[in-house]
C-alpha cells in the first residue's frame, strides 16, 4: 500500500503544480487578498458559489495545496512508522519540511503582493517538492527494492556506467536550472519579451537587449542545452543499455516529454500566453524534470542499499549478491 500511496502523492504534486501554473497564467495570484483565510472564511468553508473569476484559480490552488500538504504529512508519518531504511524516512521528513516551507512562501507572496524573488522561490521549491515525492514513490516501489534484478539479461553489463551516471546527473541539474530560469521569466513578466518563435525579433540572437529579453533568451538557450543533454542521455541509454527496460522506458518518456515541452513552449509564445497552454508548459516541464530524476536515480541504483537485503550496507555488495553477472567497477560508498 505504501508504494501506491507514495505514487498517489507524487501524482497529486503534479496536479498541484498545474493548479499553481493556472494561477500565474491567469494573473489570479492576488484575487484572494488574505491568507491563510479566503476573504475571511476558513479555507475549507469558503462557499463554492463564490469561487468566481480569479478566485476560482487561486482558491482552487490553495485547496489542492492543502490536500497535497495533508497527503505528505500522512506519507511522512507512514514512512516514519513503516519504512526500514533511515534515509528514506529522512526523505519523508525533508518532503514534509519542504511542503510546509512551500505553503508559507505561497502565503508570503500573496501578503507581500507577489514580489518576484518570493514568487520565483515558491515556483522553484515546488519542483523540489515534486522531486522529493517522486523520489519517495520510486524508492518505495517494488522495482527499486528488487533492484530491477529480473530485468537485465545474464550477459548485461550491469550498473556503474560512469559516463551515463555523469550525463544523467548533469541533465537533471540543468533541467532544474532551466525551470528556475523559466519561473524567473514568468514572474518578471518576460514571457513575451521576445514575441516571435523560433527566431528572436527575426534574428537568431536578439538585436535589442534589456533585462526581460535577456531572461527570455536565457530560457531559450536553456531549452537548447536541455535538448542536447536529454538527447545525449537517451541516446546513451538506447545504445548501451537498450535491454534494460528500467532505463529505456524513462529515456523514451523523456524524449516524448521533451518534444511536447518544446511544442508547448513555442505555442505559449505564439498564442500570446494562452493560459491553458502556458500552464501545461509549466507542469510538463516538471514532468521532464522528474522523469530525468527517475532515470538518474535508476542509473545510480547500485549506490543504494537494497531494502531487506541480506548484504550489509553497501550497495555494490548487495547488488552483486542479487546479480552474479555484476562486477563492481568502483568502490563508492553506498547509502545505508
Amino acid at each position: 500500500m505504501l508504494p501506491l500511496f507514495a505514487a498517489l502523492v507524487a501524482a497529486s504534486t503534479a496536479v498541484l503544480i498545474f493548479a499553481g501554473g493556472l494561477v500565474t497564467s491567469t494573473g489570479s495570484g492576488l484575487s484572494v487578498p488574505d491568507w491563510p483565510n479566503t476573504y475571511g472564511w476558513f479555507m475549507w468553508a469558503f462557499p463554492l458559489n463564490k469561487m468566481v473569476g480569479g478566485i476560482f484559480y487561486e482558491h482552487l490552488h490553495r485547496l489542492v495545496a492543502s490536500t497535497v500538504g495533508f497527503l505528505i504529512v500522512v506519507l511522512a508519518i507512514w514512512l516514519w512508522r513503516a519504512e526500514p531504511r533511515a534515509w528514506v524516512r529522512r526523505l519523508g521528513y525533508v518532503a514534509l519540511g519542504a511542503v510546509i516551507t512551500q505553503g508559507i512562501l505561497g502565503g508570503i507572496t500573496v501578503l507581500w503582493y507577489l514580489p518576484d524573488a518570493v514568487s520565483i522561490a515558491h515556483a522553484s521549491l515546488a519542483q523540489i517538492v515534486f522531486c522529493l515525492t517522486t523520489t519517495i514513490a520510486l524508492v518505495t516501489s517494488g522495482g527499486w527494492k528488487r533492484a530491477y534484478r529480473q530485468l537485465p539479461t545474464p550477459n548485461s553489463q550491469l550498473p556503474r556506467d560512469r559516463t551515463l551516471e555523469r550525463i544523467a546527473v548533469v541533465a537533471t541539474v540543468v533541467i532544474y536550472t532551466q525551470i528556475v530560469i523559466g519561473a524567473t521569466m514568468r514572474h518578471t513578466g518576460a514571457g513575451l519579451a521576445i514575441p516571435d518563435f523560433p527566431l528572436a525579433f527575426g534574428h537568431l540572437v536578439p538585436p535589442y537587449w534589456d533585462a526581460k529579453i535577456a531572461i527570455h533568451f536565457a530560457h531559450r538557450v536553456g531549452a537548447a542545452t536541455v535538448t542536447l543533454l536529454i538527447l545525449a542521455t537517451a541516446g546513451h541509454v538506447f545504445y548501451h543499455h537498450g535491454r534494460r527496460a528500467e532505463l529505456r522506458r524513462p529515456a523514451m518518456l523523456l524524449l516524448l516529454l521533451l518534444a511536447l515541452q518544446i511544442t508547448l513552449g513555442a505555442l505559449t509564445v505564439l498564442s500570446q500566453k494562452q493560459f491553458i497552454i502556458n500552464s501545461l508548459h509549466v507542469v510538463n516541464g516538471a514532468l521532464v524534470l522528474v522523469t530525468s530524476l527517475v532515470l538518474t536515480l535508476r542509473v545510480h541504483r547500485a549506490r543504494f542499499a537494497d531494502a531487506g537485503s541480506a548484504a550489509p550496507a553497501g550497495s555494490a555488495a548487495s547488488f552483486a549478491q542479487r546479480n552474479p553477472a555484476y562486477v563492481p567497477a568502483g568502490s563508492r560508498g553506498a547509502r545505508a
Binding site: 475571511g40 473569476g53 510546509i100 508559507i104
Partner: protein, 256 residues
C-alpha cells in the same frame, strides 16, 4: 530527526487549518462631506480659470465587449459591459482624460478636503474609470455588487494595497501620502476591471467627460504647465499664462 516529526506534522496541519471564520467586513461609515479648506496664498478675487477641450483625431478604437462568463453575477448585472479605454464623443471629443496643473504653483500648499472621493464597483466595473484626489483626502471604495471584488492599488510612490470586499455594500477608506500621476487600480477577481487615480497635492485637476471639456478654476495669476493624460494615448503638455480674473482656453489633440 524522528522526534521532530510530530511537531512538524502539527505545524503543517496548523498552517492548513489556521484562520478564523470571520468575514473581512470593513463596513465603515462614510465621513461626513465637508467643504474643501481654502488654499493658502491665493486671492479668490484675482483667481482665473483654464478651460479647454480634449479631442482625438484618427480612428477611435471601438469599445470591445467584455467576456463576463467567469462570474455569473457580472454576466447578469451588466451584460453589455464594454472596454472604457477610449470614450469618444461627437467631433472627436474624448472622455476619461485627466487634466491637471503639473507645474507653476510654486510653494503654495493646499489642505486636503475631508470630503471623500468615491470609487464604486458597480456592474462589475469601476465608476468612475478615471478620477483625481488630493494627498490625504479620503478615497472611499464601495462594493455595490452582489459579488466579491478585491481592490488592488498599484502605485509606485505610494504604498501598494490589496483589500477584499466580499459582501455587497462594503466600504473601505484609503488615503495617499504623496502625489502620483497616475495610480492604476485593478480587481484581480475580474481581470477586465481597472481604474486610474491621479493623486495631487493641489486641487487643480479635472477629468473630461464625453464632450471632452475640462475646467480648472481658482488658479492664481501665473504661468502653468498643464498636462493631459490618457491611459492609452499618453500625455501632452502645454504652457499657459493667465492674468487676474482671466480665463484662458487650452486645446489638446491626441492622435491615434
Amino acid at each position: 530527526m524522528t522526534r521532530f516529526l510530530p511537531a512538524a506534522c502539527a505545524a503543517a496541519l496548523l498552517i492548513a487549518a489556521c484562520g478564523g471564520g470571520t468575514n473581512q467586513n470593513q463596513n465603515q461609515p462614510a465621513p461626513a462631506p465637508a467643504a474643501a479648506p481654502a488654499p493658502t496664498g491665493i486671492d479668490a478675487a484675482t483667481a482665473g480659470t483654464v478651460t479647454g477641450k480634449v479631442t482625438f483625431t484618427g480612428t477611435a478604437p471601438a469599445p470591445q465587449p467584455i467576456k463576463l462568463s467567469s462570474d455569473p453575477y457580472c454576466e447578469k448585472a451588466n451584460p453589455s459591459l464594454a472596454t472604457e479605454t477610449a470614450v469618444v464623443g461627437s467631433d472627436g471629443a474624448i472622455g476619461n482624460v485627466f487634466v491637471y496643473v503639473k507645474d507653476g504653483l510654486g510653494d503654495r500648499t493646499f489642505a486636503a478636503p475631508s470630503a471623500p472621493v468615491v470609487l464604486d464597483q458597480k456592474g462589475c466595473h469601476y465608476t468612475p474609470h478615471v478620477l483625481g484626489i488630493q494627498v490625504g483626502q479620503p478615497l472611499q471604495i464601495v462594493n455595490s455588487d452582489d459579488t466579491l471584488h478585491n481592490v488592488h492599488g498599484l502605485p509606485k510612490s505610494n504604498r501598494e494595497f490589496n483589500q477584499g470586499q466580499p459582501i455587497q455594500g462594503m466600504k473601505m477608506t484609503h488615503t495617499f501620502s504623496t502625489k502620483e500621476v497616475m495610480i492604476p487600480f485593478k480587481c484581480d477577481v475580474h481581470g477586465w476591471m481597472n481604474a486610474w487615480i491621479g493623486v495631487l497635492d493641489h486641487p487643480f485637476y479635472a477629468v473630461t467627460s464625453t464632450d471632452g471639456t475640462f475646467s480648472l478654476k481658482g488658479l492664481p495669476p501665473g504661468t502653468y504647465t498643464i498636462e493631459a493624460w490618457h491611459e492609452k494615448l499618453g500625455t501632452q503638455t502645454q504652457t499657459v499664462t493667465i492674468g487676474e480674473k482671466e480665463t484662458k482656453d487650452v486645446a489638446f489633440t491626441f492622435k491615434a
